[in-house]
């Protein structure tokens, strides 16, 4: 449900802190349309604002965080198009965290898909009001006037600027939304066009404010030494030594909270100083002795082996079942079995978590690079025992997010220290802090067993997984994946196989688990995509042909009868069906652009993988060369069907970024734990892709479609790692069932 109304300038100011001088429209989206994958309660409301000022400037409030996806540009682009605004006179304003915006969380790749329709309607309503105002002014018929490029033009050539009509338009009743025509796609001025991002110029001159760039007069710089293991406790520390160091103003212990981790501050000791360097240096003097607690036994390599043993040994809890898998496996001509492992990963956004807090006059102001301003507001308010309305969150630019910055723990730290000192405090995480105290992307073990008949057709698919769940940070002891997590590819496999059974095993969490760009699709698509390739080779078929044949006939998938509640990223299957045609479409369209099937030089191979995630369909093909133990990815190609695309350039950019993100994790991504502590700490031992590892050719293609807009930030990632593993097999005959691949090859 969505509604649009006009509001007074006074109310607008109160809601947004922005003053307007003309017409203000507010759009609200309510109910299940917002129920997202992770965090949006059913029935919540989202309000959006557009104002037309007397000087003709159109202001559009961006309620989403900009972390590199271009969303601060794409959403306003939609409004501006419908309203026929001149883009050069559109100003984009970052919204504060405010309950009146409704959910502002930027995750789950859902910004455009959730707001496309309402953004268009807002634009259309603004345009219609301005047209009506002009018709009244001229005593003309409404059918004789039309908006074009920031003016209302009369048939006879008279014209008025939007600005000249803004005040009149504000007084008029809103047009009947049901009667309001929306543009046809051929008339789009901005939708589907490559509009440069609004922050482009500033990003190229350094004239930007990220979380780390916030400067408040009198502010202290804090650096915190946190517990090295989950739930560790400070026994003692050398407060005086740190206090004596130059520039240090205070040393404060932060008390940790019992499980579940939620978004609480971790136990630690903060050093507050007049500048970053003094805080960092003095922190080395703290000499903390820790009670390491029960999680100090966690060794990730051993743990993954245990999970692997568990999934290959015996049945788990059935998540989805069709036919009689055991009987079919008994009859199969050929059986293929494999176990795949995926490690923990850290987000490592280029800007680490940073938050600044200032308590004054009974309120708490936060400035943070956050993906979730309202979660921040709620969590800070709850921690400080303040009313939510007394907490204001200013969202800065984000130097990357990838899901890490949807956890407000770092803002909580800043707020606690600001309260304690009575001064503004900025908490900056070092890279070591970021990597060692992440909400880690979970590790996972999966076992697959497939049966082929005499024609090499798949007749049975058995899969088992064990993955410490994200749920564990909200529910102490949670150790099974829920429906929403299994819906990320493991449970929703699209294959036309007569017999299948999918099972889950328990996996206890020993670290804080969080969501990272494409979340559980990363390990699950690695398993599924690799196993499909193994089956294809066992069947003696070209992997591309085997994918197409196994996905089978065009149809829309249903899951209920097989006992699985497919959550479909929070959207209904009626609105966003799982269409096998589109999955096959990306595979064929992608391989048609390649010399697929042609012979390659010795040591080279092509690999393919496809997946649907965040409602979009993606195929990735890579070409690798393996020579003298050295793996080189030579080409990466990606085809994405994300429905309607608002800003193709930004979608290509997201896909390019996803290829590199996937490349990083496939080649080098791993966080290990020894005695409960992460082994890695910075880019020397947690490497991410550098320019010299990026293939000379990274090509991305968007499927032309007018289906509803679906996610683009995340879906490119999952197929990358399996496509590389499959290419390695094609090149060498060596099957890699675990990433990162630098365990086996030099990269």
């Amino acid at each position: 449900m969505s509604t649009i109304c006009k509001i007074s300038r006074r109310r607008f100011l109160a809601l947004t802190g922005v003053s307007a001088s003309g017409m203000v429209l507010m759009g609200s989206v309510t109910g299940s349309a917002l129920a997202g994958v992770l965090d949006t309660p059913q029935g919540s409301t989202l309000n959006l604002f557009v104002s037309v000022n007397a000087d003709g400037v159109v202001e559009i409030i961006a309620h989403r965080s900009e972390m590199g996806t271009g969303i601060r540009t794409s959403l306003p682009q939609i409004v501006a198009d419908e309203m026929e605004a001149d883009w050069s006179r559109v100003k984009v304003i970052q919204g504060l965290a405010n309950a009146d915006y409704g959910s502002q969380n930027t995750d789950g790749s859902r910004s455009v898909r959730d707001f496309y329709q309402i953004m268009r309607q807002m634009g259309a309503a603004a345009r219609a009001s301005l047209e009506l105002a002009a018709a009244n002014r001229w005593s003309a018929s409404i059918s004789d006037v039309a908006a074009s490029n920031h003016q209302i033009i009369h048939r006879d050539g008279r014209r008025l600027d939007f600005g000249e009509l803004a005040a009149d338009a504000a007084e008029l009743p809103l047009p009947d939304m049901a009667q309001l025509p929306l543009k046809e796609s051929k008339d789009f001025r901005y939708i589907g066009k490559d509009i440069p991002i609004v922050d482009l110029q500033d990003m190229c001159t350094g004239n930007t404010t990220y979380g780390i760039d916030v400067r408040i007069p009198g502010m202290l710089f804090a650096s915190i030494e946190r517990t090295p293991v989950l739930q560790g406790k400070v026994i003692s520390f050398d407060k005086d030594a740190a206090l004596k160091a130059p520039g240090v103003v205070d040393v404060i212990k932060i008390k940790g909270q019992p499980l579940p981790s939620m978004f609480h501050a971790l136990e630690g000791v903060a050093v507050l100083a007049t500048d970053s360097y003094s805080a960092l240096k003095a922190r080395e003097q703290l000499n903390i002795s820790w009670d390491r607690g029960t999680h100090a036994t966690h060794n990730s390599n051993v743990y993954l082996e245990e999970l692997a043993a568990k999934v290959s040994a015996g049945p788990g809890k059935v998540a989805r079942e069709r036919g009689d898998t055991d009987a079919a496996l008994g009859k199969a001509t050929k059986i293929v079995e494999a176990t795949y492992l995926a490690p923990y990963l850290a987000h490592a956004s280029m800007e680490p978590p940073v938050a600044t807090a200032h308590l004054h006059d009974g309120i708490c102001e936060i400035w943070a690079c956050t993906q979730t301003p309202q979660k921040t507001q709620q969590t800070v308010a709850a921690t400080l025992g303040m009313d939510e309305k007394a907490v204001t969150v200013h969202v800065t630019l984000l130097g990357g997010g990838f899901g890490r910055k949807s956890k407000p723990d770092f803002s909580v730290e800043a707020a606690l220290l600001a309260r304690e000192t009575g001064r503004p405090v900025q908490v900056t995480w070092t890279r070591e802090d970021d990597i060692r105290h992440d909400y880690f992307h979970s590790c996972s073990a999966q076992y697959y067993k497939g049966g082929l008949d005499e024609r090499g057709e798949l007749i049975a698919w058995l899969a088992r997984e064990a993955t410490p769940p994200i749920l564990s940070i909200f529910q102490a002891g949670a150790n099974m994946q829920d429906d929403a997590s299994l819906s990320q590819s493991f449970g929703s496999i699209p294959f036309a196989v007569a017999n299948l059974r999918l099972e889950s095993h328990e996996a206890d969490a020993h670290v804080r688990i969080g969501w990272m760009r494409s979340v559980f699709n990363i390990p699950y698509v690695f398993g599924i995509g690799s196993f499909m390739d193994e089956l294809a080779h066992a069947a003696g078929k070209d992997p591309r042909d085997f994918w197409l044949e196994t996905i089978g006939a065009d149809r829309e998938l249903e899951f209920d009868e097989e006992g699985f509640r497919f959550t479909n990223y929070g959207r209904s299957l009626a609105d966003f069906p799982y269409a096998t045609r589109r999955l096959k479409g990306v595979i064929t369209q992608l391989t048609d652009t390649l010399p697929w099937g042609e012979a390659l030089p010795e040591g080279q191979g092509w690999g393919l993988c496809a997946a649907r995630s965040f409602l979009s369909y993606v195929a990735v093909a890579t070409r690798v060369e393996v020579k003298d133990g050295r793996l080189r990815v030579m080409e990466m190609h990606c085809m994405m069907d994300a429905g309607t695309v608002v800003n193709p350039d930004r979608v290509h950019a997201q896909m390019e970024g996803a290829m590199i993100f996937g490349l990083s994790l496939a080649l080098m991504g791993e966080i290990e734990f020894k005695e409960g502590e992460p082994v890695q700490s910075n880019f020397h031992d947690y490497p991410v892709a550098r320019l010299n590892q990026v293939p000379p050719m990274v090509k991305t293609h968007i499927v032309a479609s007018d289906a509803p807009a679906s996610g683009v930030g995340e879906p490119g990632v999952p197929p990358v790692a399996p496509s590389i593993a499959n290419a390695i097999f094609a090149a060498t005959g060596q099957r890699i069932r675990e990433f990162p691949f630098n365990k086996v090859f030099s990269v």
Partner: protein
């Protein structure tokens, strides 16, 4: 301590071992230069010292005494440097955070090597991490800024 920063003489009264990065960011309010790793591993903090690119997180401010420092803020106020122009042309930035460092490294490369080969670009730029993965556009933009536009990479 006297340092020339972006053509302006600055007097700094801080300990000589303070990294230039923090001197710029905390003492001179020049926040365009970014912190990414603090260990010389990511290039986000790249500035020029007498024309040579350095990692300011690894450069004590004393090493800059009496020298000229150029930061992103001093490159141009209006993004008119050819590298910035190429960056805009190809919409290189995603989150933008690494881009000050990328641009400073690219400018230094082109001053040394006006028409770099693919290999030269890769080796000069591999100290700069972009977690958003804007690398292919960085390559293309450098090609354009060096007048080699339109040449397909091998």
């Amino acid at each position: 301590m006297k340092i020339t920063i972006n053509g302006k003489n600055q007097e700094l009264d801080i300990a000589p071992e303070v990294p230039l990065l923090w001197a710029l960011r905390d003492h001179l309010q020049l926040t365009g230069t970014k912190f990414g790793c603090g260990k010389g591993l990511c290039g986000a903090c790249t500035v020029h010292l007498n024309g040579t690119p350095v990692r300011s997180c690894q450069t004590p401010v004393s090493a800059a005494a009496g020298k000229e420092v150029l930061t992103i803020e001093g490159l141009s106020v209006d993004a008119s440097h050819p590298v910035q122009v190429a960056w805009k042309e190809h919409n290189v930035p995603q989150c933008g955070y690494c881009q000050s460092g990328q641009i400073m490294s690219a400018v230094a490369l082109l001053e040394r090597t006006p028409t770099p080969s693919d290999v030269e670009i890769d080796s000069a730029m591999s100290g700069n991490i972009c977690r958003c993965g804007t690398y292919t556009r960085i390559r293309t933009a450098i090609k354009q800024a060096s007048g080699q536009a339109g040449e397909e990479q091998a």
